[in-house]
Symmetry: C2
Subunit: 354 residues, 2 copies
């Protein structure tokens, strides 16, 4: 607690990273509910000054003492760092909001999307609240709204995931590959040509420039990837539907930032196109962008840098009056990461305030 | 009929186009079953010499007389040209194999995929045989094989379609846009930035470089595109399943050539992962590329320029023992267009021969 203002102290752990940068940007533009904001980084980044809320602040090194007096610690770091340091922050008295995958779906850790299941933030026996993965966050707010009206029964999802979800290395790799393939128009006509010239694959298991890669994360089991399993398990957990049928295929595409998903959703109730569009248009955190006659639909390059999930191509399935097909886009660094973390931290701050 | 050889005369209509070029390439490498091969093009391209079967041949202008003595006329032209000229070719005695959309799903015109429904090629009251669209052709050979074993009941498809399906203009547009966005790494972080710099959208309704566009074809009805309706109607027709449930979302991606599709297929029978992989591996026209532990899966850049459909990521759905999820890639200019046309023409030639 900040002794002057009476407002909670927030620590941003990983302030100098890609998601951390977006988080600082959001803290500067959203309602200010904090006293001190403390920037925490690796030993190497300690001493770097960053701008937050219009002022420059110095990054301190990640040590146990960095959490002294901290009420809420937002973690925007790799999972192995969060796994080690979140318990330390809790021990020093902070509530941890973890954006990494370290505690997702772990026992006694609520998985929160503030538009969908805000009340569960209070049930945190370990002092840790988790934010879901970026693929789930690209669709869950819109699906939560539709579930509220029609009752979700089954989901088939195909994703179009951006390079920045693999960090700065992902973005650098995509641009470096594009430079190598962009000039030669004979490329892309023969099998393996692109693989021969792109050079470093970076964090991806195949070339990404002028290609799509049907693989995200690690191999989980029976041919499924960890990314696909996460979409299923996180969606079930957040919506409170442990039996929900989910089949996801996760694919990386040569887009810098903003994930897209093509969703086929089957409901208990019959759906109507106009009403479903209205449900989405009225939902906080969702913008409807859906006018096929004038080619209005969301695309990653049109939604990048914005907060909401954009919904378009909403149509009732031709062969099933209980099913909707739709296309969703959202910024994987904002709602897909930093924004959801910031929103969870605000829920915790509000709870402390009153 | 070629009087010397006794073999049928083939006309290639649209020999100077993008698909025509691939067709000539295929005619030079596949089994030679023709006497004369006559190249037919627009008035502007008449007189151009092109190489086929190792010899140079001169393109003749598209006139009624161009079809005199022709047994089989393969059309690789826009739909409006085929609509006008296919009946002329039939009147002059040719069997037309049409790769354009002009006669697909029309009355009394069989829609043929030689690996799936070859026998229907003989039932052609109008003298015209149609080849399906490239999105359907990206998946139908693999799905036909699985249908033969398990009995297909329902399909949910999301596509990743290449620029070259929109012709040379599509490819030129993608490269021109990539040149404009490639150098500036600040681009792609703010909404609309890319739209502001890519310049000409070409045949696409939104920027394609560093983006994906959930729209192919024209608006059909109730929010569905003509591309999505075609996947449904063509699949039903080819598999002889008029009641098949199909929900497709068609999306253009910044890939030059080779379409991909993520498929969720529900069957009458229970499926087994290993057996389904075996069914695919044994199917003519399909190559299984599926070893998740070593990151083996098909990608567009690895299959471009090859004839078969490549199948990978084959897995039984976690929540439905009757459903398979898989990822398919195929060259949209080869099996997706010229190759299927060439295969149909060979069926007709074989029929005449014996």
């Amino acid at each position: 607690m900040d002794s002057t203002s009476g407002l909670p102290t927030l620590a941003v752990v990983g302030a100098t990273g890609a998601v951390g940068a977006v988080l600082l940007d959001l803290l500067s533009t959203r309602r200010d509910v904090y006293g001190e904001i403390r920037l925490v980084g690796s030993k190497e980044s300690a001493g770097r000054t960053l701008r937050v809320r219009g002022r420059w602040a110095e990054t301190v090194a990640l040590t146990p003492e960095a959490f002294d007096g901290v009420d809420i610690a937002a973690f925007a770091v790799p999972a192995r760092v969060a796994a080690e340091w979140a318990p330390v922050a809790v021990e020093r008295g902070a509530v941890v909001v973890d954006g990494s995958g370290a505690f997702r779906l772990g026992p006694d850790v609520p998985l929160i999307v503030p538009e969908v299941n805000p009340d569960q933030v209070r049930e945190r026996p370990r002092g840790i609240v988790a934010s879901p993965g970026c693929t789930t966050l690209s669709m869950i707010v819109a699906l939560g709204a539709l579930h509220g009206r029609y009752g979700l029964r089954e989901l088939v999802v195909a994703s179009y995931e951006a390079a920045s979800a693999a960090g700065r290395d992902g973005v650098d790799t995509l641009y470096a590959q594009l430079e190598k393939v962009g000039g030669d128009r004979a490329l892309g006509n023969r099998a393996g040509d692109i693989r021969g010239v792109v050079g470093d694959l970076g964090p991806f298991p195949a070339p990404l420039a002028l290609n799509v890669v049907p693989w995200t994360g690690a191999h989980a089991s029976a041919g499924w990837t960890s990314g696909e399993m996460a979409v299923r398990d996180e969606t079930r957990e957040i919506l409170g539907l442990p039996q929900l049928k989910v089949a996801a295929t996760c694919v990386r595409v040569p887009v810098v930032t903003a994930h897209s998903v093509a969703v086929h959703a089957v409901f208990q109730e019959r759906v109507e196109q106009r009403e479903a569009q209205d449900v989405l248009a009225r939902s906080p955190g969702v913008v409807l962008c859906d006018s096929p006659e004038t080619h209005e639909f969301p695309t990653p390059s049109d939604v990048v840098g914005t907060d909401p999930i954009w919904a378009g191509r909403v149509r009732r399935s031709l062969d099933d009056p209980h099913a909707l097909d739709l296309f969703l886009c959202g910024d994987n660094l904002r709602k897909g990461a930093a924004l959801n973390t910031a929103q969870i931290a605000e829920l915790v701050a509000a709870e402390r305030a009153g």
